[in-house]
């Protein structure tokens, strides 16, 4: 009920904004002054009329021209970054972004430098960023990541811990559900990065404990099952690893298909010397996923040059995409849960609404200023469409590439199993396989870990706590000749 009310209020608000007519007289008056301060005044006027995307070029112009920026203008920059994204001002020359010592501009530059993998510069730039700033949690997360890539692990850990507490505070204080979710994702991402540092340092036990701090309700949780499974694999708890991976078979997680999970399943069976299971996993992968991925690749490649196809696919009802290929539903669900996609989609829709307002204004006034601003708005929409389309395309092609990459890894495992079988044959040995398939005695667990017996049904509260109970089959025994076996000779 609450959700319906929020949606209705949102619709009313957006329709009011959409219908709001642009006050061209005020804009024309500001524009006519032609002073050095005009870009700033235009930006303020456009902000007052909620034309956030149209104010971007004026904000950029003022940043380039002005010696210093006022605290009021700093607030305006914050709003621009928040409402249009960090990419909007990324085109400004770095020397202008850095010279104003503005936290918002520093963040814009830091994102740009991070993309260029200049981690030292990012760390230098964000070193003094206040955690209390509106973008404090994002800055801490980026600073921690840069320090991590500079191999300064303990410094990175302290930044991540601060990020977890800062984002947690902001999450509890946020009034809007969407903002709450945003800060929750930052908090959980920082927590995940702490686990990954422990993993990289081969402290797998600590990594598992860090991963377990993330709630099952988190958007990131399904992705982390795979990482937890890897940590268990290196702790040689192959049964736990298999248990975590089988969670992806739950009806609640059907949208999460990761080729890497199939590789880890095969590797875990391989470590337990359950070679028939390895072969079964590989066979299933090739039979089910490979053929589907080939057909997916076919229609993705056919539309690879389109600037709108993938975005349209995301905006259409999910059922229509699913008809094209069974993987489409998985991909659409996964992409929709990405923060960047949500933020960019909101910006894209808002920029389209703004363009409609400009078109109406131009039809009414036919002034050169309204024409110029409408054209600018059109450019902004086109850029955002291409950008969003590219993001979706990149994700989908990444998935296809993963399927092919991991197909090669599975082939390697298959060869290894065949080689092991041949070696045993030459040595006249065989694996001991006349033992029971699974037992509770083989389940390793800590005192604080839950335990459920799997009875063919997945229960939501049990997800992520499964463990197999398979005994290792790696013990070798002498091969018994077939005729002796009949006689019962051992």
């Amino acid at each position: 009920m609450k959700r319906i009310i929020i949606t209705l209020l949102g619709l009313i608000y957006s329709s009011v904004t959409y219908c709001q007519e642009i006050d061209m007289k005020r804009l024309e008056a500001v524009w006519a002054k032609k002073t050095p301060q005009t870009p700033m005044h235009m930006a303020i006027e456009l902000y007052n009329q909620k034309l956030y995307f149209s104010m971007v070029p004026f904000v950029a112009e003022h940043i380039i021209q002005a010696e210093t920026i006022t605290p009021e203008f700093e607030k305006l920059i914050e709003e621009v970054v928040l409402k249009t994204g960090t990419n909007s001002l990324a085109g400004v020359d770095p020397k202008h972004l850095v010279r104003h010592q503005s936290p918002s501009l520093n963040l814009v530059l830091a994102f740009k430098l991070f993309q260029q993998e200049k981690y030292k510069d990012v760390a230098k730039l964000l070193h003094t960023f206040s955690p209390k700033h509106r973008f404090g949690s994002e800055a801490l997360m980026m600073l921690g990541t840069s320090l991590q890539f500079l191999d300064q692990y303990s410094a990175a850990e302290s930044k991540y811990e601060l990020c977890v507490s800062t984002a947690g505070d902001l999450e509890s204080k946020a009034k809007h559900e969407r903002l709450k979710r945003y800060y929750a994702i930052i908090k959980e991402s920082c927590q995940t990065h702490l686990a990954r540092i422990a993993y990289k340092q081969k402290d797998y036990q600590r990594a598992v404990l860090q991963y377990e701090k993330i709630s099952k309700n988190s958007y990131l949780w399904p992705y982390l099952l795979l990482e937890r499974a890897w940590a268990s694999y290196y702790l040689e708890d192959f049964n736990r690893s298999l248990g975590l991976l089988v969670t992806y078979r739950s009806p609640l997680l059907t949208s999460y298909f990761f080729p890497e999970a199939e590789v880890l399943t095969a590797l875990s069976y391989h470590k337990l010397c359950l070679w028939d299971d390895v072969m079964k996993t590989i066979e299933q992968y090739h039979q089910v996923y490979k053929s589907r991925s080939d057909s997916l690749r076919g229609f993705l490649v056919a539309n690879k040059d389109s600037d709108t196809y993938f975005l349209q696919l995301m905006l259409n009802p999910i059922e229509s995409g699913e008809k094209l290929n069974p993987f489409i539903r998985n991909l659409i669900t996964q992409i929709r849960k990405k923060v960047k996609f949500s933020v960019d989609l909101i910006n894209y829709q808002a920029s389209r609404e703004e363009l409609e307002r400009w078109k109406l204004s131009f039809e009414k006034h036919k002034s050169p200023l309204s024409q110029s601003l409408a054209r600018e708005s059109q450019r902004s929409v086109s850029w955002r469409t291409t950008h969003l389309n590219h993001f979706i395309k990149q994700h989908m092609f990444g998935f296809i590439n993963d399927i092919h990459r991991f197909s090669f890894e599975l082939f390697n495992i298959q060869l290894e199993v065949m080689s092991n079988r041949r070696d045993l044959l030459y040595k006249n040995q065989t694996l001991i396989s006349d033992r029971s398939r699974g037992s509770l005695d083989n389940v390793k667990r800590r005192t604080d870990q839950h335990f459920y017996q799997f009875t063919g049904e997945f229960w939501a509260d049990e997800l992520g706590d499964y463990s197999f109970g398979l005994q290792s089959n790696c013990e070798l025994v002498s091969r018994i000749p077939a005729n002796d076996k009949k006689k019962g000779v051992k």
């Binding site: 994204g85 991070f114 890539f149 390697n412 080689s419």
Partner: protein
């Protein structure tokens, strides 16, 4: 010098003529070759050492195993990087 050369030629001519006369002068000479000869190998002594293995052994060679690097996950750096790139 001339006289020396003439003398050498005359003496060579003489020797050739006398050799030809010997061959043709004894037509009844019969040359006989050995028809039979035997060797008693038992009496032969050969010096040396006789080497032979005490018992025959073949060293078993370990089958060559080709190292195949199975997939390993050392870190999640690409995912960490992606988290920042897809934040905003």
């Amino acid at each position: 010098m001339k006289a020396g050369i003439i003398l050498l030629l005359v003496s060579t001519l003489y020797q050739t003529t006398s050799f030809a006369q010997t061959e043709s002068n004894d037509p009844n000479v019969i040359i006989e070759y050995k028809k039979y000869e035997s060797f008693d190998l038992g009496n032969l002594e050969i010096e040396g050492q006789l080497i032979a293995p005490g018992d025959l052994t073949v060293q078993e060679r370990e089958r060559r195993r080709f190292s195949r690097n199975l997939f390993e996950r050392y870190d999640f750096d690409p995912e960490t990087k992606q988290d920042i790139k897809t934040l905003r």
